[in-house]
């Protein structure tokens, strides 16, 4: 089992590519799937290489990905941690504005 994994909030991703580029083990790639805005979110192309370092999470400008160590997940499950909620997409279209 890999040391770590990632959780991706698909609807927030804007496919900037930071996570793919700066993953130290090159475990991520942009997928061919796309979200509602047409962006290709990342996925673990080499899941066994993920160490859970969360560098992807630190780089992501859209808060769309974070990495965690599998040990931490198990500990959290044991402690009954609150599950991460699938964030509701902000349905309201903000009208365009200047400044």
């Amino acid at each position: 089992m890999a040391k770590g994994s990632v959780q991706i909030v698909v609807e927030r991703c804007k496919a900037c590519g930071f996570c793919v580029e700066f993953c130290p083990t090159k475990a991520l790639a942009l997928s061919s799937a796309f979200n509602a805005k047409g962006y290709h979110p990342p996925y673990l192309i080499q899941p066994e290489k993920c160490s859970g370092c969360d560098l992807c999470g630190m780089y992501c400008p859209d808060f769309a990905i974070f990495g965690y160590k599998q040990g931490a997940a198990a500990k959290a499950a044991a402690a009954g941690a609150k599950p991460a909620e699938a964030p509701a997409a902000d349905g309201k279209e903000e009208a365009t504005d200047a400044r």
Binding site: G17, F18, P61, F66, A81, P83, P87
Partner: protein, 289 residues
Amino acid sequence: MSAINVFNPVEPFLRTDRMPHIWCPGCGIGTSVNCFSRALIDSKVDLKNVSIVSGIGCTGRVAGYMKQDSFHTTHGRAIPFATGLKLANPKLNVVVYSGDGDLFAIGGNHLIHAARRNVDLKVICINNLIYAMTGGQTAPTTPNSVVTSTNPYGTYDPSFNLPYLVEAAGAVYVARWTTFHVRQLARSMQEIFSKKGFCFIEVLSPCPTLYQRRNKMGDGLDTMVYYKEFSKIKNGAPTSELGLGKAGEIIVGKFVDRERSDYRDLMHDKMVESLGDRYVEREACECEI
């Protein structure tokens, strides 16, 4: 293995009902907010006391996305608003989070005076070298020969060296990082929470839609790679040597970390000296006792 029990440490700091945010793909502002959230966690400050004051512009929108007491004020005036907030309620940790245009053009005067006074403010300046929100106009930080919407034939205004200016004005902590330097940036942001006085961190960030695109410099990722390859960490370097060009070396690091009495201490000491027992010192200026 189900991932539902893991928890992104950044989520509690975001107004998740307003996600996704308006910043462009490849913009570095969100990255800086990530670093800032982690710094808030690691600094162990009481989060209730953290107030965020922003001005106008892309970076000015940070106040609206962060789940703290947050104030989206007028263009250039985040610092004086923050000064009033801090002086009236000194237990607050007041962070000014704004952009290079907002803080150094229209807000330049307020910045130098707050630094002169050494008001206890944590100023995070996201420097994307342009006025982004309004469509890519020249900023006082835009390097030479850059194409902007108000300099369509290339800039010729000399540009500010922000750490140099802020040090000269009196800041006690001056650092510059880029959005590539996520670990160092988070550490700097954490450090300033245990330092009293006017603290300033410049964060160089891509503006892929306007700055980079108009100048055929690629996208946000290309800029992050440029930061990685051309940055040199030189802690303690003289700030006079930190000028930036359109291309070439970017010097980053922590440049100033010195001690000066902050504004409240100066005021307190003078009042005690002059008034003695007649000085009525209150922790805050609140209107109800």
